[in-house]
């Protein structure tokens, strides 16, 4: 049981500071979670702390590989709206 960080991570250090297990470490190109140390915060907090402060959607995955924060849940931007804006910008 361990969470993981993927390459949409922006290296903001927020998760590093709040992890109760010191499982998160600085790495290139982005922070990583030491799977042996990660407890998913069980016994410490109701919710995994890294996923509770991370500002980037889909940057942290659960043990099954599913995003802890789905697209649109943190920014409030509906994914289809974001896709539309990106298409519009690229077509300029």
């Amino acid at each position: 049981m361990a969470l993981s960080i993927v390459d949409s991570c922006v290296n903001c250090w927020a998760c590093y500071d709040v992890c109760p297990s010191e499982a998160i470490y600085e790495s290139k190109p982005h922070f990583k979670i030491n799977a042996r140390k990660c407890t998913e915060c069980e016994g410490d907090y109701d919710q995994p702390q890294c996923a509770s402060i991370c500002p980037i959607e889909e940057a942290i995955l659960d043990a099954s590989g599913a995003p802890m924060n789905a697209l649109g849940t943190l920014t409030g931007i509906p994914p289809e709206k974001m896709a539309e804006a990106m298409r519009e910008i690229q077509s300029r």
Binding site: C12, I77, A85
Partner: protein
Amino acid sequence: MELNVIGQDDHQDTGSSCSSGSCGSSNDQMGHLPQEIKDKVKNHPCYSEEAHHYFARMHVAVAPACNIQCHYCNRKYDCSNESRPGVVSELLTPEEAVMKTKAVAANIPQMTVLGIAGPGDPLANPERTFSTFRMLSEQAPDIKLCVSTNGLALPDAVEELSKHNIDHVTITINTVDPEIGAKIYPWIYWNNKRIHGVKGAKILIQQQQKGLEMLVAKGILVKVNSVMIPGVNDEHLKEVSRIVKSKGAFLHNVMPLISEAEHGTFYGVMGQRGPEPEELQDLQDACAGDMNMMRHCRQCRADAVGLLGEDRGEEFTMDKIAAMDIDYDAAMKKRAVIHQGILEELDEKEAKRARLASASVPAAAKPDTRPVLMAVATSGGGLINQHFGHATEFLVYEVSPNGVRFISHRKVDQYCIGGDTCGEKESALSGSIRALKGCEAVLCSKIGYEPWSLLEDAGIQPNGEHAMEPIEEAILAVYEEMRVDGRLDATPAHVAELAKA
């Protein structure tokens, strides 16, 4: 006709266009503050409009983590070509930040202030922020330290802040109403939970207000920043201004929302517009009745270096700093001499204004001419000293029989800003002309033939006759010329147009 600079007269003239004696004119901004506060801010470019012509500031990007999400922010901030809050190109460790600060201080001796403003929230990074402050107060005691925060972690940090002798703190307060807050802040991280919506906004607001009160009780100067978001908090900011003033904040900085779609922020993508310059000015004027207003903010990056409006960060990347050999003791001596020189120059200007004010004609005898907006191209020092074509921004002043007051800066947007009707990139020149909308004259050191005639066509009188003169004196002189020529009698085209609409 004798005109004086607003704020140096005695506030008794009833013909003032300002709603109260504390209107945000350039020199009046600080006019009625206690001497002790004036002394604290007189060399702080972000707290004193006058100081920002002379003194520089820098931010060090040591604080990447954030504890809230704002709808005008996108945390994918890693971009070097943009200038706006939250954007940095190189994150620094506290040790690197100290090296950089000393290198900048030695090379730009008029740099007086080191701020930590992100790219996240400084107080959500207490160890990195405070260890930077601790080292700097030991190694570079001639630099003022300040910090800018969203306020969520502020009450817990006040004690530590006061230990480091930080006498300026900026809190961004966009609302005092949790319902409005929920439209600006989708979530906060608080007590080990992510809290969404109204509940989160309510906690944030409580923490901001509590932090403000605690700072004021400690005698720390507090500036409040607010982002003006049309249709969300614009009207409400008048109430915010009243409340923060009543709690002891000494300066309010209402800034326009930046919301380009390509920034990928909620507001950008969802099509929330920012305010027009006139809307911003109207709100600032409305708030000014209750509060000192700051109007010269450039909404700079979290790693900005230099005078406000310029960014010299490229000269001080970590690899360039590593190659510099800095003798800080020697630099401090040189800095002290330069700072003293600038302060003496400012004192002379102050004394001159006082003389002018005492010699000015009584309000009743003032001609009843209409106010005019004029733009100025300056590269600092309070002078008309920049070529029109080199200006990346203009300072806009309003001049009337009551004198001169600073209104805002206008950036020259050199690129197409999109929009359905616009398919091509425009030239820098048309960008400049658009930035000058509403102005009737532009004062610069020099100007080429082509822009000259285009400006005239746009109803803006170019003027290169006051090169190297102090800004306010030059503006008054041009206003007087306009009066003598009868140009203040006629309603200008853009005003007539507004009246029709």
